[in-house]
Point group: C2
Chain length 483, copies 2
Amino acid sequence: MVLQTITPVLLCGGAGTRLWPLSRKSYPKQFALETGGRTLFQASAGRLSGGNEAIAFTAPLTVTGSDFRFIVTEQLAAAGIDPGPILIEPAPRNTAPAILAAALHLHDQDPEAIALVAPSDHAIPDEAAFQAAVARGLPALREGRLVTFGITPDRPETGYGYLELAAPAGEDPVALRRFVEKPDAARAAAMLAEGNYLWNAGIFLFRVADLLAAARAFVPDMLARVREALDEGRSDLGFLRLGESAWNGLEDLSIDYAVMEKADNLSVVPFSDGWSDLGGWDAVWREGDPDAAGVVTSDHATAIDCENSLLRSESGAVELVGIGLKNVIAVAMQDAVLVADASRAQDVKKAVAALKAKGARQAETLPRDYRPWGWYESLVIGSRFQVKRIHVHPGAALSLQSHHHRSEHWIVVEGTARVTVDDTVTLVTENQSVYIPLGAVHRMENPGKLPMVLIEVQTGSYFGEDDIIRYEDVYARGQGAKG
Amino acid sequence: MVLQTITPVLLCGGAGTRLWPLSRKSYPKQFALETGGRTLFQASAGRLSGGNEAIAFTAPLTVTGSDFRFIVTEQLAAAGIDPGPILIEPAPRNTAPAILAAALHLHDQDPEAIALVAPSDHAIPDEAAFQAAVARGLPALREGRLVTFGITPDRPETGYGYLELAAPAGEDPVALRRFVEKPDAARAAAMLAEGNYLWNAGIFLFRVADLLAAARAFVPDMLARVREALDEGRSDLGFLRLGESAWNGLEDLSIDYAVMEKADNLSVVPFSDGWSDLGGWDAVWREGDPDAAGVVTSDHATAIDCENSLLRSESGAVELVGIGLKNVIAVAMQDAVLVADASRAQDVKKAVAALKAKGARQAETLPRDYRPWGWYESLVIGSRFQVKRIHVHPGAALSLQSHHHRSEHWIVVEGTARVTVDDTVTLVTENQSVYIPLGAVHRMENPGKLPMVLIEVQTGSYFGEDDIIRYEDVYARGQGAKG
């Protein structure tokens, strides 16, 4: 058997609200939800690394948004996975432009490249079974077909689209007859009984040349414009940022709608070893292996006399206790708590909308704010002071800046900082401090090989992120940009 | 009409668990639950200050536990109430010893003294109506009677004891026939219908000489021992700490059981203008003025399609959202969250027991730790650092101390500190910092008239409160005591 090389294409630009408060616009589900010590994104990348006797995965190609690019690199590094190329979408445009950009980029490197495109926010616990399924798709590729993966349904689900097969599902690829929209309950029950309908999981395996040929036939304008965005793209700190003017003119379109539903050369590989899109807290409950009473609890969550309930504490600093609950979902974080009837899991977006309407930060952002150079969080804000923890990646640097309204004390508590204050540059290491007077031009850098953590105590009258006069920034950000 | 002077006796040594997570052993309900910007303790003290055309309250006499003494002074100061004498019970011994100690202390000052004894964790929204009821009790005192206050029941409550009156309740004091234990549901309904049963609220008005005469008759040994504890008491930073050896030998007994149920000279003043013992979250819900759907929400709590539910965020930093809930109580804090079916409000103690069993700090303590000199809270703990906010009262001082395992950086962010480091004493003011090397003997004091707040950044290998070598302490605490 010839070992087939496959490049994983990880799509992680999405930002849903259905897993609020864990998932927020600034830090969506694929990066936030952890199972077994890995985030969904890390698990997706891990599932598409290594290989078996038939396939070998290369480093992944990741397509994400600008706000998430450093989360991607940090999470891949933490999982010990070679990052591969990272394409930055100037704006979200659904899956078709993202997948076409990935396909064009891979085709430029190798016209024979094979890609496995997958969302990065689904759960597939059995990695080996999934890799075996990928291998089963290879014969169809040799016939120039586009392969998708269909999940064997175990319930009459009305929340997913379906794939109708030309023949009942077995182990081997089956020709696709057509895509089926989300059904009503009766139709879902009928399809479950019939046996030749699988859930559409949005996972695709193809020779990039074949996908591009299909795109050339069905969406030639989109393909041309994506080509343009790629050609106009520029390398930025190791990321490939797609050209903004071409990209922003693209239509928001799914790959199903743009290409797959029109193509007549689709094959489906059935997969029945466990999959969930984790599309809501009810799905997280289902995947959480409920006990005999139907209860799922996380660390730091305690259920007393509860039934059919999910109790999750998303912070080691928060203890959550449920008493006598039935069909309740409770998710606790340090700055936000959701408590919902389980039947209302799909209405969590209403919580986000309500908080947004009242101007609560928790609607969209976490206490921890990710920046190109690392992250910071505000530990306490008083009337005339603020304390922050600042985490700077090895080799990273904050901008050269000054403030009109505050002085700062920096105490390094981990690693070593190179600190510029006006004309003086000093190395400041663990347990040393430095004072930045109001108005002084200053910068902090991490020249070392380990993360640098410092505590910043600001005193003054105003602590807004817009009181930053920026003189020089390796990340090319403007006035008022954060950090 | 002669203006009668009355001394309020505030009992606030209790530490229940039924309002966890808000109420904890280290910071119980009377100090924690706020309504209208005042804690229950502050509201109780406020209700028993000032007076009307018939009565004038003196400064209160407070009886509390050692752990709560500085909470008492801080909350009275914040409410603008003269603290009066504060008696410290070396250990909780229920209401009889506490009330007898107060009565003896008042009698020593003035044998004609009149006391109004009240728990400090009940809600009585209409202060003027309550003061009018107190005034209605005065005629009975002139006949040497002990007066208690009975709440007109509005439901067949099985959670309270009752007072059976010799005649139906009107406005004026009525002779008490007998105390009635907590009834079953049928008996409670019958008593509600009969009209001469009132709830026992544990509030008493008496000439201290009369109470002491009754105690001499019914519990002479207890009275003698309380006298001894008072005589052995010592003044400690303005508190009167009762003698430990005498006090600790006292029986744990309620004033009802020790004296009131045996006395034949009790009169009851009916009160029907609103009262709650706030004995559980269900009572807090009931007193919270539910809307048409039966929903009560606090600031930073949002209810979407909820019914008959209580949603409270106890922190401005936590947003709580409920969706589709029925009969649910949810209380969110930064470090702990309770979600319970409303019918299980009395089982909250099970939550505390479960957390205690698993060793979770949240069972009994809050993030903020109260000390004689003020309070501190840990803002973040890393593997080799910890950051604290420390709040020092005007005129207060921490002990002179040193550490084996950590250095400290202090940055003053509010007020002015006097800082001792080995042989050097300096004034450190807002936006100034000082470094305490490992091993240095140091002390912080607040010499000013305003609170002093500083941020302490500790670096080292161990941050336990037992790494404190204490050289000198105005609060006479030993090695390993906190702060």
